[in-house]
């Protein structure tokens, strides 16, 4: 039944090609239906679904467990919000396809299948990122994404050649038994591709041009939904199947990426590019935490990821629709923006604070002082520019010719969701345990390859 999450959006995307207006209306309904199906199937977590009823080793299987469930619900909820606030009917069909592909990416338990979904996501991303006449930025993204994606393809085939099957659990198990070093090699290949979507410098060099072009849709979709799904895949690959650390080159690159992208953000004179650099920095922080391979750190990294995605959603929505506006006449929007940006930095009583708090706590418990100091320093830089932009937007004199402050604001629906997200950040900030319990569970499951394997070998069908 969980296949409906992929099949229904795809079928409707195909079926509404000549009817774009209909696609615009169908999109939120489909995503809502996805959520309904998802929550209806919650009791069935911990199952595999063999597509075409072929045994897992030969065919393609979907894997539905708690981790996938929570990631799917987050992604689909974000998607619901995005579909409701996007009034541009041009991108409804790409969004439908992307929704199917994201669900597929999270559910699939097959190396080559995940490559296919990654490519679908990449192609829809290229299409969406041409919004606001940004063909050049999108082209750069396409070339770089295209070059990087060959590594994933080679990695998938490498797994097949070494393990004899493309099923993640079986081939990882076989290779892990015979020659664990090979898993690491495959993981390096996968990581090179995934780091492009994860926006780690230098793989994330395309981000500012694509995010910063002033489109509201591009950064929201790519930043909050695609990144989250990619983090899922990356953590699944690097934590569940492999027992070893990635080569230290990656770790140092990611550390440098955190600081350098914050400096890039500090330099920017354009809010969109600033936010783009900021999202590179926060995603690098998440990746750095994942690379530590410690359960407590990974749990907080996920906490950080979710709150960050929510905050970025608000920031990019406000920037994409209003540009640099004066919030004096758009107070609700302004408060949402300020709340989210403060949460981004990690100011107390907002969710972001607990993200950084638990992260630092976990890092210190593991005596990983380097990353902790990098996080603190990068937060300091972030604080400077976030404060700058907040003050700019509240106190700048953006006056029209008549000497009045510009009177622009978000439309009602967008304002509602932006405010809602900001309030969620506040609520999580007040009761962090709500989210932390979930991320702890996720981290525990992510590290449990034994369980993952047992589900396959025990053939829990659905």
């Amino acid at each position: 039944m969980i296949t409906l999450l992929i099949a229904v959006p795809l079928a409707l995307a195909f079926a509404t090609i000549p009817l774009r207006k209909l696609a615009r209306l169908i999109l939120p309904v489909v995503v809502l239906a996805n959520l309904v199906i998802l929550f209806a199937l919650k009791p069935h977590v911990g199952k595999i679904i063999e597509l075409g009823s072929w045994p897992a080793v030969y065919g393609i299987t979907l894997f539905f467990d708690e981790v996938a469930f929570y990631f799917l619900s987050f992604v689909n909820m974000m998607f619901l919000v995005i579909s409701l606030i996007t009034r541009d009917e041009r991108f409804s069909i790409p969004l439908l396809v992307m929704n199917a592909a994201l669900n597929g990416l999270i559910l699939t338990a097959d190396f080559f299948n995940s490559f296919v979904f990654l490519e679908i996501i990449a192609i829809t991303s290229y299409i969406i990122s041409t919004d606001k006449d940004n063909a050049l930025g999108s082209f750069k993204y396409l070339i770089f994404g295209g070059v990087a994606s060959i590594f994933y393809l080679i990695g998938a085939v490498f797994m097949y050649v070494q393990g004899g099957t493309l099923n993640m659990a079986y081939s990882s198990y076989i290779i892990g038994m015979s020659n664990p070093e090979l898993m690491k090699t495959a993981l390096v290949l996968f990581a090179i591709t995934l780091l492009v979507e994860l926006k780690v410098l230098p793989f994330g060099l395309w981000v500012p041009d694509v995010y910063g072009n002033g489109s509201a849709l591009t950064p929201v979709v790519l930043g909050s939904v695609v990144s989250t799904a990619t983090v899922y895949l990356f953590s699944r690959l690097s934590l569940t199947f492999v027992d070893e650390h990635l080569p230290p080159v990656f770790y140092y690159t990611v550390l440098a990426s955190i600081v350098l992208s914050q400096l890039g953000a500090l330099y920017q004179k354009n809010l969109g590019r600033t936010l783009a650099f900021a999202s590179m920095a926060s995603m690098s922080t998440v990746v750095a935490s994942l690379l530590t391979r410690q359960e407590s750190v990974v749990s907080t990294a996920l906490f950080y990821l979710f709150t960050d995605a929510l905050a970025k959603f608000v920031l990019f929505t406000v920037y994409g629709n209003l540009g640099v506006a004066n919030f004096r006449n758009a107070k609700t929007t302004g408060i949402a923006f300020t709340f989210s940006s403060l949460s981004l930095v990690g100011v107390p009583i907002f969710a972001g604070f607990w993200g950084k708090y638990y992260l630092l706590k976990a890092l210190f418990e593991q005596e990983n002082y380097v990353l902790a100091i990098v996080v603190l320093v990068s937060t300091l830089i972030e604080l400077a520019y976030v404060t700058k932009w907040n003050i700019e937007q509240w106190f700048a004199k953006k006056e029209t010719t008549k000497g009045e402050i510009e009177n622009i604001d978000l439309p009602f629906v967008q304002k509602l969701f932006v405010l809602l997200s900001a309030l969620i950040l506040l609520v999580i900030g007040l009761f962090p345990q709500l989210l932390l319990d979930k991320t702890n569970l996720l981290a525990e499951k992510l590290f449990d390859f034994q369980l993952y394997r047992d589900i396959f070998f025990g053939k829990g069908g659905m």
Partner: protein, 602 residues
């Protein structure tokens, strides 16, 4: 305590909503909350632990109670003043809400010994006050960014130390940590203590992190400068006092000179430099608010020296100086706010002769600077005297020189606004200026009374200070009634007050019976055949200390140093931006570099 904090937090929302109907309700709510908190707090005995929202985190030390009560006095005065002043603001509701939130945050800081909770309230205070700073002037935007960044340097260092301690002891409770701190290796102790003190140093405006004070105090809304200087800066002093006294600093660090341990000695030197920098820079300022901002730097230096001495007299002196400076700075900034309310400028050379028009404001300022400069009948003298006593008894002569120079210097700089703003000839454009409304006069008069009263009867303040000293195992300061006793002698404030009162009476009588000088308007100038267009230039307020400023005109500036540091960072960012703006070819190039690195460093 929990109730106080909750009332303040809810009050901030209420303040916002009510201000929407009638803007003056906000300050009234702030006043009510302050009074309620004061009354409640007075009843709570120190060393009480309490829950906050179900977490066992609140703990009231005598030190915290002392600082909290002091803050409430400052906030009450600020609130009363604001009732009228608020009408000059464009965004009164946000101002009110954030003011109340600032109060909530700052009280939270004083109510806890849990490091994380302390950090949370600390940041709450910073961010609530951050958005107040740019509310009246658009130039303050940049100042606000500096404010938050430099404060954050401190608070992140603090957070770092907090987690470092957590990773060692698995607790955030400061009392518990201080008990076990000596188990840690020496370098770690240094790292932890220095990082935590950085927060206090940054917030209290001590050299080398004092650079934010000038612009923030100078450009913040006029009354809020009073809170900034009178209260928020004291949060830093509180943290320093708490950390120095709760950690067994004297046993952790080896003794260095004059019975002072090495850490204290370093802090004392930071205090010395602060006094020097603050004094010299204050003399230069033409903006009266910036001038007092630098005097805040100097006074934070005094406080730091007093606290770092960590002994019977010096520590008490430092704590007492906190009180004096808080009250004095509030008085001075409120009187400035009154001046600005009527005249609209803070530039000293644009003003003059306001004594004839605004006598109450003048008296407030006068008493404020007397206390600040440490002239006997006010309480300001007592604290400086105590710090001197301690320094002399230890034979720390170099520091004494600095402290002494700072005192002399403070006469110089506080005199500049006195002469330039209030004395001299009244400028013609201000001839219609009136005294501020009575509601604004009330807090000023009250503060004058407070500072004189505690100058004569310092018993109540000393009780708190002694309580704090006992709490942390420092020898208690000795006093009997109005007689303050040190190892080198004693000082009876009552006798001194009577002496000064008699002197003042004699002076007043002399003033009344001697012939008065002739009042000459500013326009009554004589030149040899030239027309005068700008009479202001002939007022002595313009280029007041030109002769002194010339002596150290091209001094090195930390502000420029920090600015160039930021620019260097930004140029790194520019480099990244350059890489980003390249084509896909360049991206693939970097991919190749990573692969090369991978090939070698697997």
């Amino acid at each position: 305590m929990q109730n106080i904090l909750l009332v303040a937090i809810i009050g901030s929302v209420a303040g916002y909503l009510l201000s929407l109907f009638y803007r003056r309700l906000g300050p009234i709510i702030l006043l009510l909350i302050s009074l309620y908190a004061f009354a409640m707090l007075w009843e709570i005995p120190s060393n009480t632990a309490e829950n906050f929202l179900g977490y066992d985190v609140l703990y009231l030390t005598t030190l915290g109670k002392y600082f909290a009560l002091l803050s409430l006095i400052v906030f009450s005065a600020y609130a009363i003043f604001n009732i009228v002043w608020i009408e000059t603001l464009k965004t009164p509701h946000a101002f009110n809400a954030l003011s109340i939130l600032t109060l909530a945050g700052t009280l939270g800081v004083f109510f806890t010994t849990n490091l994380v909770v302390l950090y949370i309230f600390w940041e709450l205070t910073v961010f609530a006050s951050l958005f107040i700073v740019p509310m009246s002037k658009s130039e303050a935007k940049r100042a606000a960014v500096w404010y938050v960044t430099i404060t954050a340097i401190g608070s992140f260092a603090f957070l770092f130390a907090t987690f470092l301690l957590y990773s060692k002891f698995y607790t955030f409770d400061l009392v518990e940590i201080s008990r076990n701190l000596s188990q840690l290796p020496k370098p770690t102790i240094w790292l932890v203590v220095c990082s935590m003190l950085t927060a206090g140093i940054a917030k209290s405006g001590v050299f080398p992190l004092h650079v934010w004070l000038r612009n923030v105090h100078g450009k913040a809304p006029d009354t809020f400068s009073a809170v900034l200087s009178g209260q928020l800066v004291k949060m830093g002093s509180y943290l320093i006092a708490l950390l120095l006294s709760i950690f067994p600093v004297t046993t952790l660090f080896p003794h260095f000179y004059g019975g002072v341990n090495i850490l204290s000695y370093i802090l004392i030197w930071l205090g010395n430099v602060s006094i020097l920098v603050g004094t010299l820079m204050a003399i230069k300022q033409n903006d009266m608010k910036m001038l007092i901002a630098f005097s805040t730097v100097a006074n934070s230096g005094y406080i730091l020296i007093g606290l770092a001495l960590l002994d019977q007299v010096g520590f008490a002196g430092g704590l007492f100086h906190v009180f004096n400076h808080a009250i004095a700075a509030t008085m001075i900034f409120l009187s400035f706010a009154a001046v600005v309310y009527r005249t609209g400028t803070t530039k000293i050379d644009e003003l003059g002769g306001l004594i004839h028009r605004m006598p109450v404001t003048f008296i407030t300022y006068l008493v404020g600077i007397i206390s600040l400069a440490g002239i006997p009948p006010t309480s300001g003298f007592i604290s400086k005297w105590m710090i001197f006593q301690s320094l002399v008894s230890r034979g720390m002569f170099v520091t004494e020189i600095f402290v002494f120079v700072g005192s002399i210097g403070s006469f110089l700089y506080v005199f500049r606004p006195l002469a330039g703003v209030f004395l001299g000839q009244l400028k013609s454009k201000y001839k219609d200026v009136r005294e501020v409304p009575i509601i604004m006069q009330i807090p000023m008069i009250l503060l004058v009374l407070v500072t004189v009263f505690f100058g004569v009867f310092p018993g109540q303040v000393l009780e708190f200070i002694v309580g704090a000293q006992k709490e942390f195992g420092i020898d208690a300061f000795q006093y009997e009634g109005t007689k303050l006793i040190t190892s080198m002698g004693y000082w009876d404030t009552w006798i001194v007050f009577v002496m000064f009162a008699v002197g003042f009476l004699i002076a007043a009588v002399l003033y009344l019976i001697t012939p008065k000088g002739k009042k000459i308007p500013l326009e009554d100038q004589y030149t040899s055949g030239e027309f005068l267009h700008n009479f202001d230039l002939y007022h002595y307020a313009s280029r007041f200390y030109a002769f002194l400023e010339r002596e150290y005109g091209d001094h090195p500036s930390l502000e420029n140093l920090y600015a160039s540091l930021v620019n260097a960072l930004k140029s790194l960012g520019k480099g990244i931006d350059y890489l980003v703006s390249r084509t896909a070819s360049a991206y693939v190039f970097w991919l190749g570099v990573i692969l090369l690195l991978l090939w070698k460093g697997w």
